[in-house]
């Protein structure tokens, strides 16, 4: 039983290292602190921005250098992955808003004013993928399908 758990942990660790190395283009076991969000998320986690900040506080150096070291990243990330749970987007949305679409104005308002607001760049990016330019609406079910498909 313990051997199995060990192997799972070893696998997780290897996966973490792999993801880290994709962003480590200097090949010196460090990444730019601004890439940590991408790495964590590509490993299957769904942190809020606030949670990400907490994570960073744990892995940054005493005096932040702008770089994160692999050796600090691994243990923290390993813990996160073993405990993670992903929010269930699909079911949530299915239970809400009945008409199946949002207007561009509505989406922009929500995304840039509520929750952990989007930057302008993020908003534009989302619109470029999700917005139907002829009708100016977002059929969010389609967009969600797109997002979830990536999760497979």
């Amino acid at each position: 039983m313990f051997l199995f758990a060990d192997r799972v942990e070893a696998e997780i660790e290897k996966k973490v290292i792999e993801a880290f190395e994709v962003f480590d283009h200097e090949c010196n076991k460090t990444v730019d602190v601004r890439e940590i969000g991408s790495i964590v998320r590509s490993l299957g986690c769904y942190p809020t921005e606030a949670e990400l900040q907490e994570l960073l506080a744990e892995i940054e150096e005493e005096e932040p250098t702008g770089y994160i070291h692999l050796e600090k990243f691994i243990p923290v990330m390993r813990k996160v992955l073993l405990e993670r749970r992903g929010p269930i987007l699909k079911e949530y949305i299915n239970n809400e808003n009945k008409c199946g679409y949002l207007t561009k104005e509505q989406l922009v308002k929500y995304m840039t004013e509520e929750g952990e607001p989007f930057t302008q760049e993020e908003m534009e990016d989302m619109l470029s993928a999700a917005l139907d330019p002829e009708t100016n609406i977002i059929r969010y079910k389609d967009y969600i399908t797109l997002m979830i498909a990536d999760d497979a």
């Binding site: 792999e18 991408s38 590509s42 987007l89 989007f118 993020e122 993928a129 497979a152």
Partner: protein
């Protein structure tokens, strides 16, 4: 919010729900974007790894290519092309411009640019316009241009010294690799070269892209018009052996059917006369690849650079040749290199299999192969004894000259300290910040600008700001893969970077679509590699599979993939795209090969390992067959095919018997007339994936 008026409960609940929903969507969105970023990065990783592994293979095959080139690339003495100058005349530069004019006629029907020497800016504009309209410059003008370029280059030292006096900004461009659109974009954004607008082009003008010829013509034209303001450094692709493999030779022969070979001969000379480096204000060193711990700029400044026709051909060592001359037969030292290879010819780093110092070991192994090959070629009857040339000592570079130049044209910077052999490319080295620092101290330098590596943003700064990589071919691997950039160097020597990306799509793809295109392309290349190593991979999988269930742990699977393919990639992240996993988390390894097959079915009797070998070396074989096909008919005889194939296998250490070769040859002589259409043959070995929308290339 926060004002304590009587807000109804339902309103509070609603805004809470909105908040939750917003956060949820944002979390998901950010995850999606992160995944896209991950896919973009590993796609570039894949391209880069495969590219460098390929280059390494080229260096190791170099002696074979050299051998083939020596015996097949020269025009016969009785050339069928009476009106063209002979090879020796062209290479001895005994032919003047007027002679070329007399010998080669330009028909009245030719509407392209007619160049008059000495060239003027009007000529350059005419050329640019013509090339924008996809016109071709007539061969006579090409030859005249090359002739003049060689004359001008010969006057130049190995290392050009520039200054930014008179407040001139110098523009430095990196690899262009035949991408004309990028060059035109640079000229559009930055202006044409002139006395007020000096340029340095840092090598790799040719290969891979479709317009290497046009780029060279433009660069050489500006060189002739502004010899003090347009500077060229030699790159590792300004090398006729590389050109044969990476597309430039093919492009020339395709565009210039009659005069192509002459043009190539002259180009070989011109390339060897390109300067090796440029220094600005005695502080900024600009060269194509990098440096090593032994780089000696003073030495490099004094060598006869034109002796280095190709860096893929290490100089014949003194002892080898003396033995050869003495015994009239190549030495029969057993080749340790081939003994290390297994049946599918897996490449190894030569230098790691010996204890001798890195430099000597690489060229020693290559020289051994070369000799063995000559012996085999002679005994097989493909070569006559007289065709083995005695080296002319005045034209052979020394070991040190070769090594020093190889280092500056092939090396790559790394973050780790020290200087180690460049295993990825098989030549040159990886140099660390300490090596850079030492060189700077020795020569009182401030900055090193180099190219040679594709960078996502077109440029990259390393070694604490001291080493800059500049790469000017956007969309190098695939549409959307990377930007290009150039540097503006002003008199205080701080660099400014200008980035760009050529975009052919009229409808703008969104980020997801762009990344998907690049990713698809990268995975296609990777799957091709996987297919081409099927036998070896299967063997290794089965070895690891103790239980015989056809499944392996993710860890074991990744280990096999990495060790057989010799590619450092994020295998676990790529796994979903490459193989199926069973519910228990293990990987059904044979699914790696699902949906992959070659374009045309080959008969059953031909062994799979052979099929894979052809897949793997498809491009190399194309080149070799092109050599043998002297009259460009696209056909070679069964006999020629057999002998060449045998020579190739012997060299690569692939065990093959004559019967198998015969079977293969017969299976591709589709109309049974004793001749093989080798292009058709090679096309058949193109790896296709079931889901490919179109038969590619």
């Amino acid at each position: 919010m926060g004002c304590k008026t009587s807000v109804p409960d339902s309103a509070v609940k609603k805004s809470e729900r909105v908040l939750k929903a917003a956060v949820l969507i944002q979390r998901w969105y950010r995850v999606t974007m992160a995944r896209i970023e991950m896919r973009r990065r590993y796609s570039l990783n894949i391209f880069q790894s495969i590219e460098y592994a390929d280059e390494q293979a080229q260096l190791q095959l170099s002696s074979f290519f050299a051998f083939m080139l020596d015996h097949f690339s020269r025009l016969d003495a009785d050339s069928r092309f009476f009106e063209s100058p002979s090879v020796s005349q062209v290479t001895d530069s005994s032919l003047s411009l007027t002679e070329l004019e007399k010998r080669i006629e330009v028909p009245d029907s030719y509407y392209g640019p007619r160049l008059k020497f000495p060239l003027t800016p009007a000529d350059a504009s005419a050329l640019l316009d013509a090339f924008k309209n996809e016109e071709l410059l007539h061969a006579r003008y090409v030859l005249q241009l090359l002739h003049e370029t060689r004359r001008v280059l010969k006057e130049m030292p190995n290392i050009t010294h520039l200054s930014t006096s008179y407040s001139k900004e110098i523009t430095v461009c990196g690899d262009l690799h035949g991408k004309l659109d990028d060059l035109l974009l640079i000229f559009y954004k930055n202006g044409l070269p002139s006395e007020k607008n000096p340029y340095v082009f840092n090598g790799d003008f040719v290969d891979r892209g479709d317009n290497s010829v046009e780029i060279l013509i433009i660069l050489f034209a500006f060189l002739l018009i502004y010899p003090n303001d347009l500077h060229l450094n030699r790159g590792n692709h300004e090398d006729y052996v590389m050109n044969v493999r990476y597309g430039f030779t093919r492009e020339v022969l395709r565009k210039y059917k009659v005069h192509g070979k002459i043009i190539l001969c002259l180009l070989e000379d011109v390339f060897s006369w390109l300067p090796l480096a440029t220094v600005v204000d005695s502080k900024v060193l600009i060269l194509h690849g990098g440096i090593s711990d032994t780089t000696d700029l003073d030495f490099l400044n004094l060598i006869e650079r034109n002796k280095l026709r190709s860096l893929m051909r290490p100089p014949k060592s003194v002892t080898d040749i003396k033995d050869q001359i003495k015994e009239k037969v190549p030495s029969t030292t057993p080749n340790k290199y081939s003994a290390h290879q297994n049946i599918s010819g897996k490449r190894r780093d030569i230098s790691s299999s010996r204890s001798s110092p890195r430099r000597e070991s690489t060229s020693y192994a290559i020289a051994e192969e070369y000799q063995r090959l000559v012996k085999d070629g002679m005994s097989s009857g493909l070569l006559s004894a007289t065709s083995v040339s005695d080296p002319d000592w005045s034209t052979e570079p020394t070991q040190k000259e070769w090594q020093q130049t190889l280092d500056i044209l092939w090396s790559d910077p790394r973050s780790q300290r020290g200087c180690v052999p460049n295993k990825g490319r098989g030549g040159g080295c990886y140099f660390g910040p300490d090596i850079t620092a030492k060189l700077f101290e020795r020569y009182n330098l401030k900055m090193l600008i180099r190219s040679h590596e594709c960078k996502q943003d077109g440029y990259e700064v390393g070694h604490g700001g001291k080493v800059i990589t500049i790469f000017s071919a956007s969309n190098y691997y695939e549409a959307g893969s990377n930007r290009g950039a150039y540097i503006k160097l002003n008199p205080d020597l701080s660099p400014r970077f200008i980035q760009y990306q050529v975009s052919k799509n009229t409808c703008r793809q969104n980020l997801q679509e762009r990344v998907s295109t690049v990713e698809w392309s990268a995975l296609k290349a990777l799957r091709e590699k996987i297919y081409a190593h099927k036998t070896e991979l299967t063997e290794a999988f089965i070895n690891k599979d103790r239980t015989g269930t056809g499944k392996l742990s993710v860890s074991d699977w990744a280990e096999v993939m990495e060790s057989v393919l010799c590619l450092e990639l994020p295998w676990r992240t790529l796994r979903p795209q490459l193989a199926w996993s069973s519910p228990d988390g293990c990987i059904e390894y044979m699914t790696c090969f699902h949906n992959l097959k070659i374009g045309k079915p080959v008969e059953e009797q031909v062994q799979p390992a052979l099929v894979e070998t052809v897949c793997r070396f498809r491009k190399d074989l194309e080149m070799i067959f092109n050599f043998i096909d002297k009259d460009h008919s696209g056909l070679i005889s069964l006999d020629e095919f057999h002998q060449t194939w045998r020579l190739f296998c012997v060299h690569m250490g692939i065990q093959i018997d004559n019967e198998t070769i015969d079977k293969l040859a017969n299976s591709i002589d589709y109309n049974k007339d004793g001749n093989i259409d080798f292009n058709e043959f090679l096309e058949a070995f193109h790896v296709v994936h079931r889901l490919d929308k179109k038969a590619d290339e």
